[in-house]
Assembly symmetry: D2
Homo-oligomer: 374 residues x 4
Amino acid sequence: MAGSTYGTLFTVTTWGESHGSALGAVVDGCPSGLSLCENDIQKYLDRRRPGQGKFTTARREKDTAEILSGVFEGRTTGTPISIIIRNNDQISRDYDTLKNCFRPGHADFTFDQKYGFRDYRGGGRSSGRETIGRVAAGAVACRLLESVGIRITAYTKSIGPISVPDGEYDFTQISENPLYMPSRSFSEEASAYLESCIKNQDSSGGIIECQIEGIPAGIGEPVFHKLDAALAQAVMSIGAVKGVEIGDGFRSALAKGSDNNDAFTFDGSRIRKRTNHSGGTLGGLSDGSTLIFRAAVKPTPSIARPQHTVTSDGKEIELSIHGRHDPVIVPRAVVVVEAMAALALADLLMINMSSRLENFTAFYYPKDSKERRP
Amino acid sequence: MAGSTYGTLFTVTTWGESHGSALGAVVDGCPSGLSLCENDIQKYLDRRRPGQGKFTTARREKDTAEILSGVFEGRTTGTPISIIIRNNDQISRDYDTLKNCFRPGHADFTFDQKYGFRDYRGGGRSSGRETIGRVAAGAVACRLLESVGIRITAYTKSIGPISVPDGEYDFTQISENPLYMPSRSFSEEASAYLESCIKNQDSSGGIIECQIEGIPAGIGEPVFHKLDAALAQAVMSIGAVKGVEIGDGFRSALAKGSDNNDAFTFDGSRIRKRTNHSGGTLGGLSDGSTLIFRAAVKPTPSIARPQHTVTSDGKEIELSIHGRHDPVIVPRAVVVVEAMAALALADLLMINMSSRLENFTAFYYPKDSKERRP
Amino acid sequence: MAGSTYGTLFTVTTWGESHGSALGAVVDGCPSGLSLCENDIQKYLDRRRPGQGKFTTARREKDTAEILSGVFEGRTTGTPISIIIRNNDQISRDYDTLKNCFRPGHADFTFDQKYGFRDYRGGGRSSGRETIGRVAAGAVACRLLESVGIRITAYTKSIGPISVPDGEYDFTQISENPLYMPSRSFSEEASAYLESCIKNQDSSGGIIECQIEGIPAGIGEPVFHKLDAALAQAVMSIGAVKGVEIGDGFRSALAKGSDNNDAFTFDGSRIRKRTNHSGGTLGGLSDGSTLIFRAAVKPTPSIARPQHTVTSDGKEIELSIHGRHDPVIVPRAVVVVEAMAALALADLLMINMSSRLENFTAFYYPKDSKERRP
Amino acid sequence: MAGSTYGTLFTVTTWGESHGSALGAVVDGCPSGLSLCENDIQKYLDRRRPGQGKFTTARREKDTAEILSGVFEGRTTGTPISIIIRNNDQISRDYDTLKNCFRPGHADFTFDQKYGFRDYRGGGRSSGRETIGRVAAGAVACRLLESVGIRITAYTKSIGPISVPDGEYDFTQISENPLYMPSRSFSEEASAYLESCIKNQDSSGGIIECQIEGIPAGIGEPVFHKLDAALAQAVMSIGAVKGVEIGDGFRSALAKGSDNNDAFTFDGSRIRKRTNHSGGTLGGLSDGSTLIFRAAVKPTPSIARPQHTVTSDGKEIELSIHGRHDPVIVPRAVVVVEAMAALALADLLMINMSSRLENFTAFYYPKDSKERRP
């Protein structure tokens, strides 16, 4: 349980270090018969790839996905899907000076405390590159969700103090700016803010918002594996995320019940909620509304500005981190949030299939046949 | 996987409905030799018990814990600890009128969607009474944590707009007011606010904060089972919680790296952080600082004020919920947050024991003996 | 992970000691809508109850099942089903002399080694009474399996050297003799054999065979969670079981491929095997044939005949175990084998529902409706 | 849960098909600091490699292990160890004729039933090549076990009717003959027997026995995760295994209690058993004796002799399987049994570390330091 496996039925195991020879993921439990090719995965990897704009690192990784198993003649076979991404552009000597010192905001100190030593090159397993395996696996989960009409859209809600207000989203803009913001004007404002951060050898935090449409009601498991709880774990497990909220989230702490409750209504064909303060869950189960949640992302800890820290033998030093680092983590984490949400959801959808006896018996005694399976 | 089991090594399985004959928990994997009696559990249950003040329901449950297994001559034996709490004061007829209608903000609709029908009495399994099993199990986890010097303190940070500022905590006040606020004056202000809510047949949300001291560095598992992620799942799985943040949380989204990074220093005996914006974790592992997190709790959905909703056959109605309901969930959820944090932490501490080979070999070849185990 | 939980989707957690106040089980993940009452469980418990004939202990437990949760108006709700069985007839002073000595063939020594001490009364958690929770949970699993036409039949194949040959089974006899043998004459012979064991203050081993009909083909998961592997774990986890074999089992080690392979044929409506050397699985998945396996059960370790052993402080002694002990474990373990097979199978049937994309999509977009779920 | 992950703390996920581009394993949860190189793994892979003698297939795979992550400067880092083995010598056209027919004794039919179609090349995921990942991971587990003095020795007990009697083992012979038998004369006899099988276009079953020395007492978890149960699952999950027994196994079903019980004695330094009918476990926990178990392996199902079967569209045919197939599975499965036993045991040893409070507190408050961790 070094913690690199996620999920119960739809599972992913990721592996790999920043400066090892490769990173990858093994997806197990994906249903057979899903159309899948390397390009389906590559499209997601390209969204988190470095070197795409002025706010992402100059490290020039192609991050090319290769599928090694689990797909035959273009379709998944039901067996584990192993995906590998080779590391090409490691410059490990960059990190030699960091070998014995604990970078503020990084996991250097805690990994040493836990394991006694660490692969210090590029942060090793605690590097942002660890998310490559998540994104590759999330791409498979997204394909599965699409097959039942579920669409996940994540985007940059805010960078530092620059936040797109709820009513001013233009989703067509998300892929039109390097910050993945749903607004042209706010993305320009945020760009200017980031330029000033760079100028000051500093970095910025921000907020990622995610909307999921098409989730049928009833998904999630009561008590410990609520849909909200599963999403919270999935999203909080992304390195830089420091907070997760669903629906009105922390605003609901300020609200009154009469405002926060969503009234039910019957629209002639189905029962739905008039408002969506809950963000799409009630009692930990999806309620048929759009699922909406937000993740708070801390500023990139690697900054050029000198910082105080200590070496592993306790010597106090001033540290300036040079090299290739984004001034903000948010844009590249957008697709990671989508991936984690997809993984959590795919798993809960599969688990949900056996919730009712009538579904269980209908499965093993299909209606359209007099015979039982098989 | 109806989701009622939590944990990997230190596990809890809870069971029971609001108006069934009993509720309970089975704690499995607790180490042998822990001193434990029913009173250790009762103290925690008493903190979540209704009927203790003007802001908690008049339902008069004693909620008495009985230990049925796993303890022999005052100590845990290493086998499952079964704890049962009988329901005494159910008034099920209160709920007959609610049988076929979907209360706003409750799980009535989603449970029906998932399971086809539900035990509608008092919310059944989705009732707040479900947390009794969590608190009973959490009490055992707290005993275990105490044995290695870990202390968990949760309290009410805010109720509606009334919030105790960071610098004005008086921890001695927490147990002195029915709202578990660390401030006498703010608790009085919050009481007045809640009185106005009651007068308006309304309810209020709030924020619970939790501080944990004494966690050694290195606890948590990288990637999917980070300490932050485990806590986020554990706390978000509490019915009314809509957001979780650790350390500076959502404030870190507004910050710059130079502010948000915590500098390391060496105090002569050990390496520590000068500040604690991270809230006690780095890279998902505890960093030796105080762990601090907050949970946003939504307002009680059951309010006396008429609300619009529909019946299960789609008829639009106005619903006024009478009966015994707190105007705020927060104070009674404080101990539930402690319980969930304790369960998450106990599990990760046990998992951590095999992280290093030197600990593994020292365990099976103890230093103080020439012989190997046993 | 003290190991008292079994299963992935259909799970059971058992608890309780031989001389504690109660034993029980929590079944989680059972689909909603299954008709279930206490008598459904009681019928199974009665089959393992002591005091029913001359070859079972005189301890007179009623072993009455009480359902505390998860059932509403006669049907399961999808939430955990807590079942409790009170202990009534403990005579703990019987065991005071055994407190500090290690009975041969029992877990006294190993529990002390693992946990440092033990609840020595009646073997504590390692008593055969531990299986009560399994049988109660297994009864629920059997109800679920019946709903899709799966029937489990276990019986005593042999007691010591007295074995019913394969061709001479009369299943109507199983419930007609206290040994649960599918043959009147062999059960009489076995009874005589057991009488001689008792006369010699000794005990006997035996073999339980189990046949399961109605399993659709394709159940089980490749690699580590094969149907055979799941059954092997489930059955080998019963205290006295020392061997498990499926189909021809150890005989297939003597066979040639030309004998051991089962030819496929098409009978006009479906493909089936002409023979069943494999015992109903191929590649770890059910093959549509009757599943058949056997479990070797060791002799009751508690015998009146004096045995050599040591005390916990290393003193060599001669021990005669008096009290209430069966001369053979097999008959009472027959229903435990059924229970464990049912638990393993119910879980794998639920897991199997998401194996194919076409089933996944048909579930979320039901054919008979134009709408997607819900 | 397609079932390709095994273990709780020390886990392995395997992936890969017979004729895909590669196979591999991800080992997660291995303690940091274990000395590990590719050659440590290669030694185990070489023992299961084909093409090594007249009784193994002529397929000439090098099966070279490459470690892609989790090892830094010769030691494990505590992060997942990804091991990849490229397939080189696939001749897929061999299998084109088998595409639409169900080979007797193989998983063709059941995979089609479960998944709707299959990667038919070389048996796909159900091929014996699937065990490569297990052996690679098992090699890591063996390294870990060696570090605490545990040694696993598996060997061929019998091939068809040729069986090495218990008293006549010569362990130095195991690596001296291609059948891994602990006897020169019996291996010669078995070779002659296999030659006659080949001549008759047939194959043979056999028995693998495994002895494990150095396991401390108390390993295993009571109830469902007994050491015996874990081993039974692990070993029965190997494709061709049809039975597992521990200690006297099926012979104990014939025995009397007075024979089967192992007397305890005190040898001046520690308590031990005089005999070992139990095979090294009592109550599911290791008892300090040598652990000994056996696995029954069925004959190779692929035989050249014509067999009756059907095509996927129900046509009856006679099938002769040519190509590269061993006349016996046993010798190459010996190392797979070792690997699975090592994986099961490594996991249970890690889980066992938190069984006692005194160990838990000693870990977090080390004796040799006044300070608590860290």
